[in-house]
């Protein structure tokens, strides 16, 4: 009984499995200036996001804690890596671009000064073929928006 799962390696690329197993920046930030909880009530995916912003607003550090599937963990892990050093406006722009990438598999707005970072997120583009899993990938970015907007809760329902 070989190859039951066919081309699923396209979805679960090595980067995703790796970040899913060993998420980066997986810790509390005790000196966080912004935090938010993300909740995917249908799935039971939950995360808490911590951002430390500088006086000029840019994100100095990002970390998270939580539980969820490989896709949501990997997405949160990659997000915390890529938003470090960004201004809130840039981070939100990346979030917009990422949601489009996750939903359609293509990213017409992934160019310009976010191009390199978006490139790092493309392994997640495979979720667009799995509509029920898109929200796993976008939960972290919804939570980021909530944190930047000063809201305490985000849901990807």
């Amino acid at each position: 009984m070989t190859d039951l799962f066919g081309d699923l390696r396209d979805l679960y690329q090595e980067v995703i499995l790796d970040h899913g197993r060993k998420p980066r920046n997986f810790r509390r930030l005790d000196d966080a200036t912004l935090t938010a909880r993300g909740d995917n009530p249908m799935c039971g995916d939950r995360m808490e996001l911590f951002l430390k912003t500088a006086p000029d607003g840019h994100i100095e550090d990002a970390a998270f804690q939580g539980r969820g599937c490989a896709i949501s963990m990997a997405s949160a892990s990659l997000m915390t890596e890529t938003v470090k050093g960004k201004t809130p406006a840039q981070a939100k722009q990346m979030g917009e671009a990422f949601r489009e990438l996750a939903m359609t598999g293509t990213c017409p707005h992934c160019g310009g000064d976010i191009a390199d970072d978006m490139e790092r997120l493309t392994p997640l583009s495979g979720v667009h073929e799995f509509p029920s899993r898109v929200k796993c990938a976008t939960l972290a970015w919804h939570t980021l928006n909530a944190a930047l907007d000063g809201a305490k809760e985000a849901s990807s329902e």
Partner: protein, 412 residues
């Protein structure tokens, strides 16, 4: 009866369900989510189409032939449900849109309409949200106390705790599942009913899962209320059933108001129609009732005893394989159980497993299965659930086990 139960002719049965010959992602469709909603046999599909093509009109409203035909068919469905549950009186069968609506009806009309503030309702830790939330609403609106009976680590109702919860005599109703949609546990309904009655309480069983897998006799159980839902019994969506003893229905105020549930209306007041019409406001799910009737005829033509025996063999097969898969944790080990298995794997999250299995053509549910408190009770965030139907084959159970072994490796 010589006690011999014939084996199911699985090939013929599977041929009765057109969807089972569909292919999914290039693979045969292995449907292991009947607990969420079962597939429909041709007999059900055909009966509904035939009714719409040849015998359809609104019921209880027209003094013309087609309405009389439709009314007769609708009432015949009620009769079939009464026989299916062995109700003593056909007026004890109320059609609703689902189990959820049936429980809400009881929570409203009995919970708020008959129970007094300060009386208590007992539910259990293994209830579906449909048998939790309506009671919380009754609690908040009407001052009813809500008590939650514990379950054991094996996933069985803790009968000592039930006795304790009943001890002060203030319990008006025990509302518990007859079979858990997560653990597969079948609860000792007869004993629960006896304990409730001795404590002066009525008893409601959520039979959404149980009624599909076993013969239910509401008189033998001495159930005061029993609910189930059509779509899990190989029938259509949009129809559920409330069985309630006639005297209770008589004493309860209506749930929804509207047409068909009154015998007289002026702007000053209305006089309720006799039961069960009093609880069926508005145009009911007519075509769905005909579909449910066909579904009941279908399972009865196979025989509930034969279905139960078939599913018992599947459960034995699953219990012989699933618990031995390395890294797999099975929720609940009830002695008396049906074909519902919720599990977690050490290397992979429930959603990742479900996505993998889907690639193999296997449909399982992942998440918390509308039983969040139960998952909390077992300290798991989410699980996958495989649930069997009368068309499930032993080979499908084996395929599930093999796919789970491979899924665990995939994520290592």
């Amino acid at each position: 009866m010589d006690g011999h139960i014939p084996a199911l002719d699985l090939r013929r049965i599977r041929d009765d369900f057109p969807i089972l010959s569909e292919r999914v992602r290039g693979k045969p469709f292995t449907f292991l989510d009947s607990g969420a909603s079962a597939q429909k046999p041709r007999a059900v599909i055909g009966a509904m189409v035939r009714m719409m093509e040849t015998a359809y009109a609104n019921v209880h409203r027209g003094a013309y032939h087609m309405s009389e035909v439709a009314t007769e068919a609708y009432e015949a469905a009620r009769g079939a449900v009464a026989r299916f549950l062995n109700a003593g009186d056909v007026r004890e069968i109320v059609f609703t849109k689902s189990s959820t609506e049936a429980i809400n009806l009881v929570a409203h009309s009995y919970g708020r309409g008959v129970l007094k503030p300060g009386q208590a309702v007992v539910i259990s830790e293994m209830e579906h949200h449909a048998n939790i939330v309506p009671w919380q609403m009754a609690r908040d609106a009407h001052g009813i106390e809500l008590r939650v009976c514990r379950i054991t680590d094996a996933g069985e109702l803790d009968m000592d705790d039930l006795a304790a919860k009943l001890a002060d005599g203030r319990v008006g109703l025990v509302a518990v599942t007859h079979m858990s949609n997560v653990l597969g546990t079948v609860t000792p309904a007869e004993r629960i009913a006896r304990m409730a009655h001795e404590a002066g309480a009525k008893v409601l069983f959520d039979g959404s899962q149980a009624a599909v897998h076993r013969r239910v006799d509401v008189q033998a159980l001495d159930a005061d209320f029993y609910v189930f839902t059509g779509h899990k019994l190989y029938g259509p969506t949009g129809i559920g059933v409330l069985y309630a003893k006639a005297a209770l229905l008589e004493a309860m105020p209506p749930f929804l108001g509207g047409g068909d549930m009154i015998s007289e209306v002026t702007f000053e007041k209305s006089i309720w129609a006799p039961i069960p019409a009093k609880f069926e406001a508005g145009t009911p799910p007519i075509v769905e009732a005909i579909g449910l009737h066909a579904a009941i005829d279908y399972v009865q033509s196979i025989g509930m005893a034969a279905i139960e025996a078939h599913e018992r063999a599947l459960v034995d097969r699953a219990m012989a394989t699933l618990p031995h898969i390395e890294g797999l944790t099975l929720l609940g080990r009830a002695q008396d159980r049906g074909g519902v298995f919720a599990f977690a794997l050490d290397t992979a999250h429930a959603h990742d497993i479900a996505t993998l299995l889907d690639r193999a053509g296997i449909a399982v549910r992942s998440g918390r299965h509308c039983a969040e408190p139960l998952h909390e009770r077992f300290g798991v965030e989410s699980t996958c659930r495989a649930s069997f139907g009368l068309y499930t084959t032993p080979e499908e159970v084996d395929l599930l086990a093999e796919a789970l072994r491979q899924a665990r490796e995939f994520f290592r």
